[in-house]
C-alpha cells in the first residue's frame, strides 16, 4: 500500500477540511453542535480545539437564519462551510438556499459571488424515522445556480470536498450517514476531483446500473449478486448531479444497451427520474429495453426497522429490476 492510507469516509472528509482550513483563513465552519459537541455524526471532531470559536461557529438551532448569515458572509468574500445536522433540516432554510444563495450571482449579473459549501448527511441512517431520513437531493439538483454532488467513495468525498471549498459558487455536498464508517484507501498525496465527471466503478457489458452516493455502493453489491447469475453489470457512479455528466452515462448505456437508474429519494419525481428521462430521450436508438427505475418507496420514512427496510432501496430491489429487464 505504498503512498496510501486506509481511512473512513468520515476521516477523509475531516482530512479534506483540515487541509483547506489550514490553507485559507477565509474558510470557516458553521452549524449546529459542530464545535464543542464535535458534530452529531462527528464529522467536525477535532476542529473546535484547533481553530476555536472564530472559525468553528456553533449556531443556535435556526437553520434559515444561519444559512442566510453564511450566505451574506460569502457575499463579502468569506468561504463558509455550512453543516446541516441532516439534510432534512435544510428544508427550514430552503428560502435562503433557493431564493437567495442560488440566485445572487444571476440576479446581480455576476457582480456578486457566493462561494459557500452546504454539507451534511442526506438519506436514511437507521430508524431515524420520517423527519430525519430523507435526502431530497433532487430538490437541490433542480435549482440553477447550485452545484450538487453526492460522493460514494472515500477518495471522492475527500477530493470533491476540496473542489467544493475552492468553488466560487454555492455547492450542496451530500454525504450519506451509512457511508461515514465505510473504509477505503486514500492516496497520501493531496489531490482534487472535479465536478461534472461520472465514473465507472465496475465495468460490465450486460446492463448499466446508474446511481450516486450510497446507491452506488448498493449497485456494487447488486452487481456481485448478478454476477452469480451470469449477468455482467456495469456500475456508473454519477457523483455530480449538477453539473451532470451525461456523456459518461450515455457511453455506458450505448455499450450495454440497457440501464436501471437507482436512487434513494422518493421514487416519484426524484433526481433519478431526471436521469431516466435523459437516457430515454437521448439513447432511445441504443436501448434494447425500456430504462428501469428503482427508487425509495413514496412513503414518509417509518420508524420500525421492518418497515424502514421495506421503504429504503437495497441491492435486492436492483437485482429484481435488472432481471425484469433482462427477462
Amino acid at each position: 500500500m505504498a503512498g496510501k492510507t486506509e481511512l473512513t469516509y468520515r476521516e477523509a472528509l475531516q482530512k479534506s477540511m483540515f487541509e483547506e482550513m489550514d490553507k485559507n483563513p477565509d474558510v470557516f465552519l458553521m452549524g449546529e453542535d459542530i464545535g464543542r459537541y464535535e458534530g452529531t455524526f462527528k464529522v467536525t471532531k477535532g476542529f473546535f480545539p484547533k481553530y476555536g470559536t472564530r472559525r468553528v461557529v456553533d449556531t443556535p438551532i435556526t437553520e434559515a437564519g444561519f444559512m442566510g448569515l453564511a450566505t451574506g458572509a460569502a457575499m463579502a468574500g468569506l468561504r463558509p462551510i455550512v453543516e446541516f445536522m441532516t439534510m432534512s433540516f435544510s428544508i427550514l432554510a430552503l428560502d435562503q438556499i433557493i431564493n437567495h444563495t442560488a440566485k445572487i450571482h444571476y440576479m446581480s449579473n455576476g457582480v456578486v459571488k457566493c462561494p459557500i459549501v452546504i454539507r451534511g448527511p442526506g438519506g436514511a441512517a437507521k430508524q431515524l424515522s420520517a423527519q430525519h431520513s430523507h435526502s431530497m437531493d433532487g430538490w437541490y439538483a433542480h435549482v440553477p445556480g447550485l452545484k450538487v454532488v453526492a460522493p460514494a467513495t472515500v477518495t471522492d468525498v475527500y477530493g470533491m470536498l476540496k473542489t467544493a471549498i475552492a468553488d466560487d459558487n454555492p455547492v450542496v455536498f451530500y454525504e450519506h450517514p451509512r457511508l461515514y464508517a465505510m473504509k477505503g484507501e486514500l492516496p497520501e498525496k493531496e489531490f482534487t476531483i472535479p465536478f461534472g465527471k461520472a465514473q465507472i466503478l465496475k465495468e460490465g457489458n450486460d446492463i448499466s446500473l446508474v446511481g450516486y452516493s450510497l446507491m452506488s455502493q448498493v449497485n456494487l453489491l447488486a452487481a456481485e449478486l448478478l454476477e452469480k447469475d451470469g449477468i455482467d453489470a456495469e456500475v456508473v457512479d454519477v457523483r455530480s448531479l449538477l453539473p451532470l455528466d451525461t456523456e459518461t452515462i450515455y457511453a455506458s448505456v450505448r455499450k450495454t444497451h440497457r440501464a436501471v437508474v437507482v436512487y434513494e429519494d422518493w421514487k416519484s419525481g426524484g433526481f433519478g427520474s431526471e436521469i431516466h428521462a435523459r437516457i430515454s430521450e437521448d439513447c432511445f436508438d441504443d436501448l434494447d429495453a425500456p430504462v428501469g427505475r428503482v427508487g425509495g418507496l413514496n412513503v414518509p420514512m417509518p420508524y420500525s426497522r421492518v418497515l424502514e427496510l421495506e421503504a429504503v432501496t437495497n441491492e435486492n430491489h436492483v437485482v429484481a429490476a435488472v432481471k425484469k429487464i433482462l427477462g
Partner: protein
C-alpha cells in the same frame, strides 16, 4: 412618539443644500420611474421611495460610503443612488436593459453595486436580513471596523428569519444596524393589523440589542440620530435595532392602483403636510440658505438631469437573447434549450 425636528442645524450651508438636492433628486427620479412604468418602459414590480427620502439620506450620509455595507429589500432605488451607483444604469436596469446594473436580469427590485458596498436589492420580505448580518459577520471576522446598514420595512419585522437573525446578532455582537423603515403599511395592511405590538422598536430589546424609535421625516434629525448610532456601532462593534417613523406617499408598488382600499385621501393629505422635502426647504428658506428663486432653479436643474437619465437609459440596447445563460455560475452554464 418620535422627537420633533431640529431647529438649529450644525451642518454647513453647502451640506444642507446637498441634502436638499439629494432628496429632490430622489423624488424626481422616482416620479420618472412611475412615468416609465405607466408608459410600459418598466415592467414587473416596482416600488418607489416617495415620502421616505429623508430616511435614506440621513443614514447614507452617516456612513463611510464604499467601505461600509448596505443591504435592503425591494424598495431599493434610493439606497443605490445615494451610494453613487450610476443613475443611468439604475434606470436602465428598471427598463431591463443590457447596460443596467445587472444587465437587465434583476430589475427594479434587484439592484446591486458591491464595489460601493451595496449588496441588493431583495424581493423576499425579510429574507435578506440574515444576509446583512452575514456581511457584518464577515467584517467582524476580518477584524475590520465597517458597519452594515440592514434596511427592512415594517412588514418584514414580523418574519421569523428576522428574529433568528436578531438572536445571532445579539449573541455574536455583530456590527449591524437593523433599520425598520416603518412607513405604516405592509403592502396594503396597516401596522395595527399586522403587528401585535405596533411599537416595533421594542423587538430588539428581547435579544439584548440596543433599540430605539426615531423620526425619519426630518432629514436633519434623521442625520443626527443616524450618525450617533453609526458611530456607536462602529466603536462598540455591537448591533442596533432602530425603528424609523416615515410614510409612504406612494402605493406599495407601481401596480398598487387603489390606495383608498387601505387609507383615506384625508390621511394622505395630512401626511403630505409632513413632506420631508418641504420641511427642509422651509428651514433653508428661513435660514436664507436658499431663496424662492434658487429653489425653483434647483428643481428645474434636477428635472432636466432626470430627463437626461431617462433618455439615455431608454436609448440603451436590450440584452441579446443569448445572454439568458450568462452568469448563472462563475465558471459554467446550464444545458441549453427548452
Amino acid at each position: 412618539m418620535a422627537k420633533q425636528g431640529v431647529k438649529n442645524s450644525t451642518e454647513s450651508p453647502a451640506v444642507l443644500e446637498q441634502y436638499y438636492r439629494d432628496m429632490v433628486f430622489l423624488r424626481h427620479f422616482e416620479e420618472k420611474c412611475n412615468l416609465a412604468y405607466r408608459q410600459g418602459k418598466v415592467g414587473g414590480y416596482m416600488h418607489t421611495y416617495i415620502g421616505m427620502e429623508a430616511l435614506a439620506v440621513g443614514w447614507l450620509e452617516s456612513i463611510r460610503k464604499g467601505e461600509d455595507y448596505v443591504i435592503t429589500a425591494y424598495r431599493d432605488h434610493a439606497h443605490a443612488l445615494l451610494l453613487g451607483t450610476d443613475p443611468v444604469a439604475v434606470m436602465a436596469e428598471l427598463m431591463g436593459r443590457k447596460g443596467g446594473t445587472a444587465g437587465g436580469k434583476g430589475g427594479s427590485m434587484h439592484l446591486f453595486d458591491p464595489e460601493r458596498g451595496f449588496f441588493g436589492g431583495w424581493g423576499i420580505v425579510g429574507g435578506h436580513i440574515p444576509l446583512g448580518a452575514g456581511l457584518a459577520f464577515a467584517s467582524k471576522y476580518r477584524g475590520e471596523d465597517r458597519v452594515t446598514l440592514n434596511f427592512m420595512g415594517d412588514g418584514a419585522s414580523n418574519q421569523g428569519v428576522v428574529f433568528e437573525t436578531l438572536n445571532m446578532a445579539g449573541l455574536w455582537d455583530l456590527p449591524c444596524i437593523f433599520i425598520v423603515e416603518n412607513n405604516e403599511f405592509a403592502m396594503g395592511t396597516r401596522l395595527e393589523y399586522h403587528a401585535a405590538d405596533p411599537e416595533l422598536w421594542k423587538r430588539g430589546e428581547a435579544f439584548g440589542i440596543k433599540s430605539e424609535r426615531i423620526d425619519g421625516m426630518d432629514v436633519l434629525q434623521m442625520k443626527r440620530d443616524a450618525q450617533r448610532i453609526v458611530d456607536w456601532v462602529r466603536k462598540n462593534q455591537q448591533p442596533y435595532w432602530v425603528e424609523v417613523m416615515t410614510y409612504r406617499y406612494a402605493g406599495h408598488g407601481a401596480a398598487d392602483q387603489d390606495r383608498q382600499l387601505y387609507r383615506t385621501k384625508e390621511e394622505e393629505e395630512l401626511a403630505w403636510k409632513r413632506d420631508p422635502i418641504k420641511r427642509l426647504e422651509t428651514v433653508l428658506l428661513d435660514q436664507k440658505i436658499l431663496t424662492a428663486e434658487t429653489v425653483e432653479a434647483i428643481d428645474a436643474e434636477i428635472v432636466e438631469k432626470v430627463d437626461k437619465i431617462y433618455a439615455e437609459a431608454d436609448a440603451s440596447p436590450h440584452p441579446d437573447p443569448s445572454e439568458v445563460y450568462d452568469n448563472i455560475y462563475t465558471d459554467m452554464t446550464v444545458e441549453k434549450g427548452h
